[in-house]
């Protein structure tokens, strides 16, 4: 028997497909998320929109709140660590969280290096803005990728950009001749073996989810239509007027994203979504997607 193999890590990501992973800050929200049909929750102390507003250094959560959330629900519990902060990751591993998000939403702990994720028994998810970044993280051992989008803005434009960038680049690789792939790997800054694998298979070697700025059922459906296999919703649920209803609606929309009639029903009368931010009004230091490389 072999525990925590890469296949077992990717296997959990496979089981989260077609689902919604919701940010929650306490056990009550976690229960609401589970009752709405979330396939997992992300336990953190402040959702990204709050982190934006309050500023300061954002760190991994207090183990107490993570443990309380683990006790409150039966679905998988994820938690975030700062980019490069492998000791925060060791602590989350000791708590037996089900997935660690090495996340740009928290303040980076290392400007040069991400975590060596193969070293851990617990699987990791990381954010990406394009294919090179995705393959670098997978090279380090990430078992799931998500777009970075621009977290805490309620604005889907960056998530769309990242999904299109990753998938457009994958399509480009599939049309390349074998001798072009090494140069492409060099230009992407990505491991050659993974570039070759993607060129041959036409997809990432791990599941690819969307995150960053999803606020409505239509946003979630748009991400699915652009090739995401599941979605993360951060601030979009619990900063909206009616979190229960909106949570259910986003779950339903990810299942029925191809059925516009159903989406119309699902989107009806949900109350106000979270208020959003325009990306070009953010200062450079407020752009979370630029953290990590």
């Amino acid at each position: 028997m072999q525990k925590s193999t890469f296949q077992a890590k990717v296997g959990l990501a496979e089981m989260l497909k077609g689902g919604v992973i919701m940010d929650v800050v306490n056990p009550e929200q976690a229960r609401i998320a589970q009752d709405a049909g979330a396939c997992a929750v992300m336990a953190l102390e402040r959702v990204p929109a709050q982190i934006r507003k309050e500023g300061g250094v954002a760190r991994a959560s207090d183990p107490k709140m993570i443990t309380e959330i683990q006790q409150a629900v039966t679905i998988p519990v994820m938690a975030k660590v700062r980019i490069g902060h492998f000791m925060e990751a060791r602590i989350l591993e000791a708590l037996e969280v089900d997935f660690i998000d090495e996340s740009e939403v928290l303040t980076p702990a290392d400007d040069d290096f991400h975590i060596e994720k193969h070293d851990f028994a617990v699987p990791f998810v990381c954010g990406c803005t394009g294919l090179g970044e995705a393959l670098r993280r997978i090279g380090e051992g990430a078992a799931m990728m998500r777009t970075k989008g621009e977290a805490g803005t309620g604005n889907i434009v960056e998530g769309v950009r990242h999904l299109r960038s990753v998938n457009g680049h994958i399509r480009k690789l599939t049309r390349m001749r074998p001798e072009e792939l090494m140069t492409e790997a060099k230009n992407l800054g990505a491991p050659y073996d993974l570039v070759k694998w993607v060129a041959e298979n036409g997809r990432l070697p791990v599941p690819q989810f969307a995150a960053g700025g999803i606020a409505t059922p239509a946003d979630a459906a748009l991400c699915m239509a652009l090739g995401a296999e599941a979605v993360f919703v951060g601030s979009g649920v619990f900063l909206s007027e009616d979190p229960e209803q909106r949570a259910r609606a986003i779950v339903d929309a990810v299942t029925h994203w191809e059925d516009a009639k159903k989406l119309a029903e699902i989107s009806t009368g949900l109350g106000k979504p979270m208020s959003g931010l325009e990306i070009n009004k953010l200062a450079e230091h407020e752009r979370l997607a630029h953290r990590g490389w």
Partner: protein
């Protein structure tokens, strides 16, 4: 004619197999079925379910599956489908939905006379790959190589009713069972290259 042909249809060859595609690992089942030559169809509505001859209930989160079955009014249609004796393969979360009783308590459809405990192998850090015990004598895999197993936050089968056949075990513990045309597995045959479990459930698709 509810449960009439239930056991007689076990292993009957079918062409079109549905995969319940509400959430979870349905894409891998679809790929496995396509590998074997079946026409694999995503099922999200009662109408889609009515058009298939067999069904995979995939892994994923059973609580999510239950909510979506309830919200989209699929419970009766699923009950009728299984009751009609068409072949069903229920893996992981699908096994949990199919059980007679689930710990911690949640709705269960009782398509298999077994009790299961959710996440009973532990959280994700305890998920594992392994090998089943040598297949039981007199069973469908007798004399063959053991099944390769992938367990992900898997349920344990804690009690097995008298009419239920145990098809595979690990360290003597049941991990795959059959009752009539319904096969339940705590592991993920769709995520390994071994297609014996799908072939046993749905047979080889008819030619022509």
């Amino acid at each position: 004619m509810a449960a009439a042909g239930r056991s007689s249809r076990a292993g009957a060859a079918v062409r079109t197999v549905g995969v319940l595609a509400l959430q979870g690992g349905w894409a891998a089942h679809k790929a496995a079925l396509t590998d074997l030559g079946h026409t694999a169809v995503e099922v999200r509505t009662a109408q889609q379910l009515a058009a298939v001859d067999g069904l995979c209930l995939p892994g994923g989160e059973s609580t999510t599956h239950l909510k979506l079955i309830e919200r989209f009014g699929l419970a009766d249609a699923l009950d009728r489908f299984v009751g009609s004796g068409k072949p069903v393969l229920a893996t992981c979360a699908g096994l949990i939905l199919s059980a007679r009783a689930v710990e911690p308590r949640q709705k269960a459809f009782g398509w298999l006379d077994v009790e299961v405990a959710r996440n009973a192998w532990g959280r994700q850090v305890h998920s594992f790959e392994g090998e089943a015990d040598p297949p039981p004598r007199g069973g469908p895999f007798a004399g063959q190589a053991p099944l390769q197993l992938l367990f992900i936050r898997a349920p344990r089968i804690t009690a097995v009713g008298p009419g239920v056949e145990v098809l595979a075990t690990i360290d003597g513990e049941p991990i795959m069972v059959r009752e009539g045309a319904v096969i339940g597995a705590a592991f993920h045959p769709e995520l390994t290259p071994d297609r014996r479990v799908h072939r046993l459930t749905f047979g080889d698709p008819p030619i022509g």
